[in-house]
């Protein structure tokens, strides 16, 4: 992550990926290239990207912040389309649960609007999604259990994704504040969907609960028993793992989201 005075454009969302997925996510590479030009002035400034010193400068946001926001926007595109598609199916979501998913959908649409507005011309294009994941979930929009399972997976992924990016926003106070606000809303979503599905609202260990095996990467590494050197909490270990939600890296998240991004 660290860079020097070199004009390095940190196209992190692309660099962390396998090339094939990267291609699918850069349908507007021309726009991104243009962005790099616009940020030329910025890039000559010593932008300290040690993971803690991204600073807002006049004329645009540091590339690191743009990358985080575009990463978030990609996830929000996915969630937004997922829920809008589901709500448009007449017999998918039972009437008893519809209010929950309407509320979630409303928030995901708002997140897309907000992030796209903040990014302006720097916003990535919306990918083409395949919510069957190449046929792994063929009944995603006809079987409520499949739909709600994917919903849980997306929401828990979203929580962990935002969490993992927060430290790259230190110094960009307003963006960090905004990201934290979204993060807490995703956690509310995750909790409610889990409860609808008969699960606890919190993640025990790295258990995927009643989700299919394909969802295990969503919970990878969530079972930490120690935090910042503290390992004695006065409660059972299971409760400790529930009490702290762990982050996912951008690459881990895109590995999960990439399953649902269609080939060009």
């Amino acid at each position: 992550m660290t860079t020097t005075n070199e004009p390095v454009v940190q196209d992190t969302i692309l660099n962390d990926l396998d090339p094939e997925l990267a291609t699918r996510l850069t349908s507007r590479r021309d726009v991104i290239a243009k962005t790099a030009l616009q940020l030329g002035a910025l890039a000559t400034v010593p932008v300290l990207l040690g993971g803690c010193a991204a600073r807002l400068v006049s004329g645009g946001m540091p590339q690191q912040v743009v990358d985080v926001l575009n990463f978030a926007l990609t996830l929000e595109y996915l969630e937004d389309e997922f829920y809008r598609t589901a709500l448009s199916q007449p017999r998918l979501i039972p009437a008893s649960d519809r209010a929950v998913f309407e509320q979630i959908s409303k928030h995901e649409s708002a997140h897309v609007t907000l992030l796209a507005t903040v990014l302006g011309f720097d916003a990535v294009a919306k990918p083409k999604f395949d919510f069957t994941a190449g046929g792994t979930f063929p009944d995603v929009f006809s079987n409520y259990r499949t739909f709600s399972a994917l919903s849980q997976a997306f929401e828990d992924t979203g929580v962990r994704a935002y969490k993992g990016q927060a430290v790259y926003l230190i110094g960009a106070s307003f963006i960090l504040l905004t990201a934290l606000k979204i993060h807490s809303v995703e956690a509310r979503h995750a909790a409610e969907v889990r409860r609808l599905r008969g699960e606890d609202a919190w993640i025990s260990g790295s258990s995927r609960g009643n989700l299919p095996a394909a969802a295990q990467p969503v919970y990878a590494g969530d079972g930490r028993a120690a935090q910042l050197g503290v390992s004695s909490f006065g409660v059972p270990r299971e409760a400790v793992t529930e009490a702290f939600d762990e982050p996912l890296s951008k690459a881990q998240v895109l590995g999960i989201a990439g399953m649902f991004i269609a080939s060009a």
């Binding site: 993971g51 803690c52 008893s96 649960d97 209010a99 929950v100 309407e102 509320q103 979630i104 409303k106 928030h107 995901e108 649409s109 708002a110 997140h111 609007t113 907000l114 929580v159 969490k163 927060a166 430290v167 230190i170 106070s173 307003f174 960090l176 504040l177 934290l180 606000k181 979204i182 807490s184 809303v185 995703e186 956690a187 509310r188 979503h189 995750a190 909790a191 409610e192 409860r195 609808l196 606890d200 609202a201 919190w202 935090q227 910042l228 050197g229 503290v230 004695s232 909490f233 006065g234 409660v235 059972p236 409760a239 400790v240 529930e242 009490a243 702290f244 939600d245 762990e246 982050p247």
Partner: protein, 237 residues
Amino acid sequence: MQGEVNEKETPAAGRRSFLKWSSAAVVSALAAGLDLSDLSLGEAMAQAPGGPLISSGSVDLGSGDIGILNYAYALEQLEAAFYTQVMRTPYRGMNSAERHALGDIRDHEIAHRNFFRSALGANAIPALRVDFSKVDFGSRVSVLNTARTFEDLGVSAYNGAGQFIQKPDYLLLAGKIVSVEARHSATIRDLIAPRSAAFAGDDVVGIDGLGLARLPSDVLPMAAPYIATPVTAKHLQ
């Protein structure tokens, strides 16, 4: 042991007696000049830069990252004490699903509180005296409404404090906790109004899809009715 005065050592004593014991334990430890490694008020008063200031019965949280961590520690103390009492004296009609959820939440809040106490070490503020005299622990409505207040306050407090944290490790840690607080809030709200929009209601999430954030200067007055020890944040944002 400072924090444990709020939990398991006491038998099923009434709220008032265990709260008194809580404060009494601190006072007697001080009076006896005990060198309790966890408590160590003498060390705390010797103070690292930014550490808390304890004077004439009131507590200032300190400044910088230590101040923010003490701020979180204060809120976690409040929540842990509350749920400990909820589980000690369950409200009338608490069903098994509620007992399970509230028991889990109690354990999470105890874990959070004990984490901050350990991580802060000598810089930790002392155990705060809580005041739940406005809560009817026998009433489901009273308990769940209070729980909702505390969880929503906690989420908004962490959301608002993140921007003031300087050390990446601490920001990440706060992030690990705030999402669990949000899961708690959604759970409590779902217990109050099942399968409705309340879990992320328009009272806590704006039309822009953003959750509430509050500054310490807004949070502390809202927590104050439940904390008998005067807490100040003269050096926080």
